[in-house]
Symmetry: C2
């Protein structure tokens, strides 16, 4: 080969390689994920379940993926956003029923004493939940949540809660949907609360949100127009065993992929992995105190009760082949607002 020909051939090869690399970078559906076991598990799962020739091909109608929300899709520390919402609503509730101002736990909430509020019992919290999440129409409730989301800010980042979603998980939702998966949120949080922003925030429509759900009562307003009023009766406690039970109630199919971050997601992941063929179960591990938070026994820290990742859960993940996602190592970016 003449040197000049060899030179141009080398240039052409380099150009082709460069083009391929650029094309790959441009089309990487998961750019916020570092190369590693977690990203590889996702890509392999999607390829093996969606390529027609694959032995593990899953028909499009059976492609269901379920995501926990708090701590899996967005920040859950120092307090669940919905609990902040309920506490923030207390003054309005007391304005409508002034006699509550002198009654616990409303008195403590109105005092603004953070330490005292943090010490409220589970029973007290349930009273606050009932007072702020029920008694209004479903349309009024949805409007109130949307209004609150416009002004409420997370204490650490000073941004709306809906901006504190994890960029790698948003990419994952989109990647799965682009491959024919129907993405569901399966949350211990309130179904109607999450539905108020799920479509705008996650691209997940209200009918694909499974959450803790109270009953409603059909009736008529003073003008005779039909109205659905939120009842204090709990129909579905969508935590722990309630997650697979809620999935059956609302979806009626076993997911092929499930994502969580705490013991509340254990049964959902077990149920998912126990299905035939290829199934993917993943747990987000909060081990990045610098960029987000580190908490839970699995990273050698105290159990904060908010999103507990226990050692037992870590052991079950190892036993069953669930993939643990290290926020610190697997994600090169945490939030969408970061560059």
């Amino acid at each position: 080969m003449k040197p000049r020909v060899r030179f141009w051939l080398a240039v052409a090869t380099a150009a082709a390689l460069l083009f391929a690399a650029v094309a790959q970078a441009q089309t990487d559906p998961l750019p916020s994920w570092n190369e590693g076991a977690a990203k590889l598990a996702i890509v392999r799962f999607v390829q093996s379940t969606t390529e027609k020739a694959s032995a593990k091909f899953v028909p499009p109608e059976e492609r269901i993926a379920t995501f926990d929300q708090d701590g899996t899709l967005w920040v859950e520390h120092p307090m669940y956003a919905q609990l902040v919402y309920c506490l923030d609503r207390v003054p309005e509730v007391v304005k409508a029923k002034p006699q509550l101002a002198k009654v616990e736990p409303f008195k403590t909430v109105l005092s603004g004493d953070r330490e005292a509020i943090a010490k409220l019992s589970r029973k007290d919290l349930l009273k606050i939940l009932a007072a702020t999440l029920t008694g209004m129409s479903v349309d009024e409730f949805s409007a109130e949540v949307k209004q609150w989301l416009l002004s409420a800010k997370h204490p650490r980042w000073g941004r709306p809660y809906t901006e504190l979603t994890y960029a790698p998980m948003i990419e994952l939702l989109k990647y799965l949907r682009a491959n024919g998966y129907k993405t569901y949120i399966v949350t211990g949080g309130g179904q109607d609360f999450v539905r108020a922003y799920s479509e705008a925030t996650y691209g997940v429509p209200p009918e694909q949100v499974v959450g803790s759900a109270g009953g409603t009562s059909y009736g008529y307003d003073k003008n005779g127009r039909p109205v659905l009023t939120k009842d204090p009766k709990l129909l579905l406690n969508d935590n722990n065993a309630g997650k697979p039970e809620g999935i059956h109630l609302m979806i009626g199919r076993r997911p092929h992929a499930a994502f969580g971050n705490s013991t509340g997601d254990r049964q959902m992941l077990e149920y998912t992995k126990a299905g035939d063929g290829e199934r993917l179960a993943m747990l987000v591990l909060h081990d990045d105190a610098k960029r987000e938070y580190a908490y839970g026994p699995a990273v050698g820290l105290p159990d904060t009760k908010v999103g507990a990742f226990t050692q037992a859960l870590y052991d079950e993940a190892t036993t069953h082949g669930w993939v643990v996602i290290s926020m610190k190592n697997d994600w090169n970016r945490i939030f969408t607002f970061e560059k």
Copy 2:
């Protein structure tokens, strides 16, 4: 104009008109519907909610249409298919628990005495429902229903129940889906029962079936595999007020179109019509004793309790602008198996 030119112009015009008529006939999405008020209401609704320039345009994500099943999508007389299923299952249940053979109402069912079975009380029927619809895993139940559907035949037509769907309604489901509507079944029947065949029979996936639903319990089988067992606890009685309540629980949006045939659908139609913008509410009237059945006070016949179309419902339809579909006059074909 010269006679020859006039002649060819007439031929060309006739050919064009013929071509247009043929094209329209070929593309008519509702060929089993006679021209008339019912068909016109459907076509106008779809056009006004899906054409971008329309003042009543509905964004694709909000296009929800809900359908009652029994008497609206398929035959409900002389007995709901699911009730036939439950009665047919009794021998198997007794085989597993022989002591039931001597206990009512199982004894009567086993006797095969049709008159006595028809007289069973509501309380007795609930015992049969509990014994045949709960206690097994959700997967076992689904398999049993599918197996039954392969052999059970309707007493009048001698065909499987899944062949006794109304051709005009199947066309309507497809027409709405082709125009971006998500079609849901909202049935007083059992959610898990209908899910066993909804996709194959109606093109409606399990996650778009809202029905009367019992709870499930998450547990483990003897091999340690997760299993969901059907509980006798009723979570949602999806009839009457339960229909809009079930729609909120499972979908979280108000439908833009709803279809029913009895008083059990009244609240669903009210709720649908009370929404903003264009909404369509329709009721199938069983007035065709020859090709299907005629029943209910609205056609001057006794209330058979199975799919009651009362005079009060007819009056409410007139008041609220719900469109009544006459099976006799609006449908040129009842079943898909007819030519």
